[in-house]
Amino acid sequence: MKNNEVDEYQGETGLRRRDFLKLAGGGILVCVTLGEASLLQEGGQRRPGQGYPEDFNAYLLVRPDGRVTCFTGKIEQGQGASTSLPLIVADELDVPAASVDMVMGDTDLCPYDMGTFGSMTIRYFGPALRAAAAEARGVLLELAAERLKAPVDRLVVKDGLVTDKSNPKNKVTYAELAAGKKIEKHITPKPSPKPVSEWVVQGKPALRRDAREKVTGKALYAGDVRVPGMLYAKVLRPSAHGAKLKTLDAAEAGKIPGVTIVHDGDLVAALHELPDVARFALSKIVADYEPSESKLDDKNIFEHLVSVAPAGQTVAQGGDLKQGEALSAAVFDETYLNSYVAHSAMETHTALVKIEGDKATVWASSQAPFRLKDEIAQTLGLPPANVHVISPFVGGGFGGKSANKQAVQAARLAKIAGKPVQVAWSRADEFFWDTFRPAAVVKIKSGLDAAGKIVLWDYTVYFAGSRSAAQFYDIPHHRTVGSGEWGGGGGGAASGHPFSVGAWRAPSSNTNVFARESQIDIMAAKAKADPLEFRLKNLANDPPGLRMKRVLTAAADRFGWKPAATPSGRGLGLVCADYSGTYVATIAEVEVDKNTGEVKVKRVVCAQDLGQCINPEGTAIQMEGCITMGLGYALTEEVHFKAGEVLDLNYDTYHLPRFSWLPKIETVIVENKTMPPSGGGEPPIINMGAVLANAVFDATGARLFQLPMTKERVKAALALVHG
């Protein structure tokens, strides 16, 4: 065992490990490195030279009072990381889960983390944390061996108490071992994490740890943080994306007592010590804009996207498409569309920035506090080490709070005003500055041979991105092409989108699964085959294929699926998909009102295999949440716009799922103890578009090719079928 009080790291943060230990308050600190692979989370590259401690990605501190603190750059946005991560620590360390405290998203205390998105917390951070906890236990056992004068292999641990098996009176607690210590230890070789068979609290349902704070109103969100002397700022929203400010008259607003007007380049804001007075003052500012030159609207956008799409990249291929076409008895050529969709978390983007001298403190609703730290440093011209981002509870993110525009606004205003400034977007601001899920187009040409086998698959997705695009069926001749990504946008000439777009819960996948699984259903109907049997027949018998069959069968069993060719009139839809290593199958039952076009979802069954399941309760909640949220993008959610102007600015026209929509929801977690955990925060949502489209077809014989399936679109599709 090396007992090294290392001090070798001092990046731009200036955070020495010794200082960190001081900051953290003494005890035994265990840092773990898993190597670059775990940091290179998909979707982005780790940028070198940002000044973060790069040599470890998880810390644990065993405190002198016996409690264990886990430091993580992840944030709690409702998906339960603060509940599930301690279960991992508890089992590896042999301590009660309740004795594990979480420090999340604090950039001075926590190891660098790219952000909380992509269902990656358990999948990527989980192993680092598990390793840290296993190492911590190893360290504690070595210390105990010294103290108890007994070899490590004679020691057992329960609830933080280390006992000598040969002499039960010879015992010591973790608290006693950590008392008076300020050391950092490493041991080699690294202890292996425990096998699943030794899990105690993992794999059993655990209720949320943050519930009491949230039901009593004590949980602090960014907007709830108040510091002396702070001002509330309301920022002027342009009339449209691409509109240019011509004239501004803030004279009347400026006369309101206590109001400060800031006009700094593109940023115009009214500030006051009361938020509602700031809002009132903003309403008195008269601004005249040169309209945007954009000719785009929510109807012509699809044609535009295809016309400006960059050269595609092939993400998967096999066989020869010409041969596939020659083998096809029937060829299906279809185009699928989906609209822009807003994140619309109930908490709007909010941030408070306090500048003192050359240091800044930021409290923000952000899914990416470390990225935010860089953005604030750049905005204020400060070294990153001088910016401290603190992450309160986040009131829903869904990908939208990976963008930190509101915090940059607050930082600029705080600098100008010379006081701490809070920016909390109005709902209209939120709809305007949100990074929408991109509108997208998918074109598929597929072919079926006379025996009902899929033999051709030629797939191109425009602007949704290619996650979950590659098909997983056993198709000899196939190609999947992605053209244009889901990030960026903003109306520039090189961009396909008239405003910023970004990751929206399971980016790409909602679009791709809608298209693929609709197309599969169209072929199944043509083959007069039951949709379940058709999928089972066209899935390979290799491990991924078998895994998919297992979730399909699990969903069908729970639902009580009875085979029938579609449209059967029963209103049943079925879909399967994969998302970053998680397999998910969904069955839905709908009723369609043929007069109004309204789709009522009666029942949804979802089966998911996400490998080892850390917290079945948390997994079930995420499945239910995904299913409920997914009703929205499938049925009503669509951002209307014209010439850069966002026409939906509140919930009177933008319709989220409501209580009256509620289907009966049943979730099945398909046990899979042999595979490490993959993510659970997103996968079930990706099936919702296709499963409802397939169910509508089964109910009516009408096929919907565009999401959302509004009443008007359903009626139009019905008219095509029934005349």
Partner: protein, 162 residues
Amino acid sequence: MNRTIGFNLNGKAVSLTADPERMLLWVLRTDLGLTGTKFGCGEGFCGACTVVVDGQAVRSCQTPLKTVEGKKVLTIEGLEKNGRLHPLQEAFMKHDALQCGYCTSGMILTAYSLIQSKPMPAEKDILDALEDNLCRCGTHNRIVLAVQDAAAAMQGAGSHEK
């Protein structure tokens, strides 16, 4: 014009001098420092700002301060009594009927008002009462279960007292 306005907040008399036209939401969150009541949409569409005034659930973002003068205002902070949670709070915890928690205050107070008028609400009553309270995380089914559970618990406690 500012004037002094008094009302009962969570069982205690409060009085403050403010513009009577200001919305209760901002007075609660800033002047009175009770941040459990949330801003969601500012136009009464989402229910995150719901508080209970004389037993009725109202949208505090649409409630001018002057209209609560002399009335009883209950916010999420007032439900816990002597360290004991209200049955609705307990039921929300027991059913994990929340995720991000941002809509939770409004959900609980809307349900509180419902149970005041209908001590044993049917499922349909709960759906109707909560219809205009939005939850983006999709915890709706658990919220319905929690409200049913809380109503039953309160019914039991009530009959106990009799």
